[in-house]
């Protein structure tokens, strides 16, 4: 884990380069998959999307199929890279913890001025829940999608009932994923959450923000720094 307090900069290193790359690979491929997937449903001709300027290609099934496959390769690579990284580094910070649902409600209420926000670890409770929700849907989508792709290979026969249910699950998980992504993006409507945005690009967030909102994480980082021989902690 590369997380550490950068006292001189007044920042905290929150995300490694590989985490940033994984996040954006997943985000961009998911966006392409959702767009091309709805194109395969088929919806764009019916709802006039193909008539919008520059979107005539959206009704081209072979093209959106290729986009879907290509984005699926990127997503699958990124997800399996991420899962392996978790196992190897034992970094389970993003995994939901007991009491997260209650804590998430408290944080949301505090945002609208009701009650006091509980101190957070590296991630807010709702981030951990959102990760689990989006992650599990992505995992279902990858597994069912791979079965759908496999059965389309020349000469391959897969039980039709299995394909039928995999397809319904794929479609259901897509709807849930879209809701999850919308919820994930809506989080940035709340002003306090916007302080986390720089971490998605530079990997760093403001130290003062961490001390105030992620005090449990801050204490953990301080303890790690003091116990480390390489600590550059001067404060």
């Amino acid at each position: 884990m590369s997380d550490r307090i950068l006292w001189k900069e007044g920042k905290v290193k929150r995300q490694s380069l590989s985490s940033i790359l994984v996040h954006w690979s997943v985000a961009l491929s998911t966006f392409v998959l959702i767009f091309s997937g709805f194109g395969q449903l088929p919806m764009y001709k019916r709802f006039g999307i193909v008539n919008l300027p520059g979107l005539a290609w959206a009704g081209d099934y072979p093209l959106t199929l290729k986009m879907h496959y290509l984005a699926a390769i990127v997503l699958t690579l990124a997800v399996f890279y991420h899962l392996t990284e978790i196992v190897l580094t034992k970094d389970f910070d993003l995994f939901p913890k007991k009491g997260d649902l209650r804590e998430a409600v408290k944080i949301l209420l505090a945002m609208v001025g009701i009650g006091k926000e509980p101190p957070s670890d590296k991630y807010l409770a709702e981030q951990r829940l959102s990760y689990a929700f989006i992650g599990s849907n992505l995992f279902i989508l990858i597994l069912t999608g791979m079965l759908k792709v496999y059965k389309n290979l020349p000469g391959i026969t897969v039980n039709n009932a299995l394909v039928l249910w995999a397809t319904q699950l794929h479609n259901l998980a897509t709807v849930l994923l879209v809701l999850g992504v919308l919820g994930h993006l809506a989080a940035f409507i709340a002003k306090p959450n916007r302080k986390l945005l720089p971490a998605l690009f530079t990997g760093k967030v403001d130290l003062a923000y961490v001390q105030k909102r992620h005090s449990l994480w801050f204490k953990r980082l301080e303890r790690q720094a003091s116990s480390s021989q390489d600590s550059r902690h001067i404060g």
């Binding site: 590989s18 072979p62 290729k66 699926a72 390769i73 990124a78 399996f80 899962l83 990284e85 389309n152």
Partner: protein, 302 residues
């Protein structure tokens, strides 16, 4: 318990079996029992024998309970088999060619493979069948079919139950290869109705072999073996199919008969294989990155 049979009866039955086997292998039999073991079935449509009488289309309409239309002008939700007629100029003079058109029942059907709800399926027997109870009529199957075979019937089907949600338009209909008859060991209605014996039916391998034998015998051509990566319907013609397709185009006929028609699914085979190995590649990449990091850490500690 099996009944004992006389020597004369044994010889009679043996002769019948040999005759039936020879007939099937040579493509002269019109029916092969397909129900047992779900053996894939196929069909040969011999254009040198078809006289355009339209009996196959009428038999199809009767079999599917459709209103009888003696002179259909194309494939419709109530006419799954349409006989096209074209005049082709050949060195030996103008030839009238009649072409019964219906679903080709592809080996790797794009219509089924890309159905968004997987309710269009390739049956183990070979025919590609749309589940009319759940089809929403999105017409994607028609768009990805190299021949645009499935036809939309608006205002019917499952989507009506989903209203007012704006999903669906009707139901897609096409030839189902008379799958019920095939499963009962019988030949499709068009096969038995053809007075010219122009439509042969049997195991897919036997039909493919017969189509090529027949084409070789008349120095003709086969259509449907290579198209869309392979189908289970083989047209045999003495006239090149490129000429037939050109004539269809001139007449504004649908469906056309493009030689070497492509299969949308085959355009993504490479990417499909890459996707299936992507998990291994992801795991390997993460392992490599972790190893590099650890090695770097060890070097720094030394």
């Amino acid at each position: 318990m099996a009944q004992p049979i006389s020597r004369r009866e044994f010889l009679k039955r043996s002769a019948s079996a040999v005759a039936a086997g020879t007939a099937a292998a040579s493509g002269l039999a019109t029916t092969v029992q397909a129900a047992s073991g779900a053996k894939r079935v196929g069909m040969v449509i011999d254009l040198t024998l078809c006289d355009g009488c339209n009996e196959c289309s009428l038999a199809c309409q009767r079999k599917n309970g459709h209103p009888i239309n003696p002179n259909p002008q194309g494939l419709t939700p109530e006419n799954y088999l349409y006989v096209q007629s074209v005049s082709i100029d050949t060195p030996s003079g103008t030839q009238e060619v009649h072409i019964p058109r219906k679903c080709m029942h592809c080996d790797d059907p794009a219509c089924a493979g890309l159905c968004p709800f997987s309710i269009n399926t390739k049956t183990p027997e070979g025919p590609v069948v749309i589940n009319e109870d759940y089809c929403l009529g999105g017409q994607k199957c028609k768009a990805v079919c190299p021949w645009g075979i499935p036809q939309l019937k608006k205002g019917v089907g499952f989507y009506k139950k989903l209203e007012p949600l704006p999903f669906g338009a009707g139901v897609m209909y096409k030839c189902d290869g008379c799958i019920d008859l095939v499963r009962a060991g019988e030949a499709p209605a068009c096969v038995t109705a053809c007075p010219q014996g122009a439509i042969k039916f049997g195991s897919q391998e036997a039909m493919r072999a017969y189509a090529h034998e027949r084409a070789a015998a008349i120095s003709g051509y086969v259509y449907g073996d290579q198209e869309a990566g392979g189908t289970s319907t083989y047209y045999v013609s003495a006239v090149p199919f490129a000429a037939i397709d050109a004539a269809l185009a001139v007449q504004g006929e649908q469906p056309r008969m493009p030689v070497n028609a492509e299969n949308v699914l085959h355009g993504v085979n490479g990417m499909a294989q890459a996707l299936l190995i992507a998990p291994v590649a992801g795991i390997f990449a993460a392992g490599f990155a972790a190893h590099k990091k650890l090695t770097k850490g060890d070097e720094a500690n030394e």
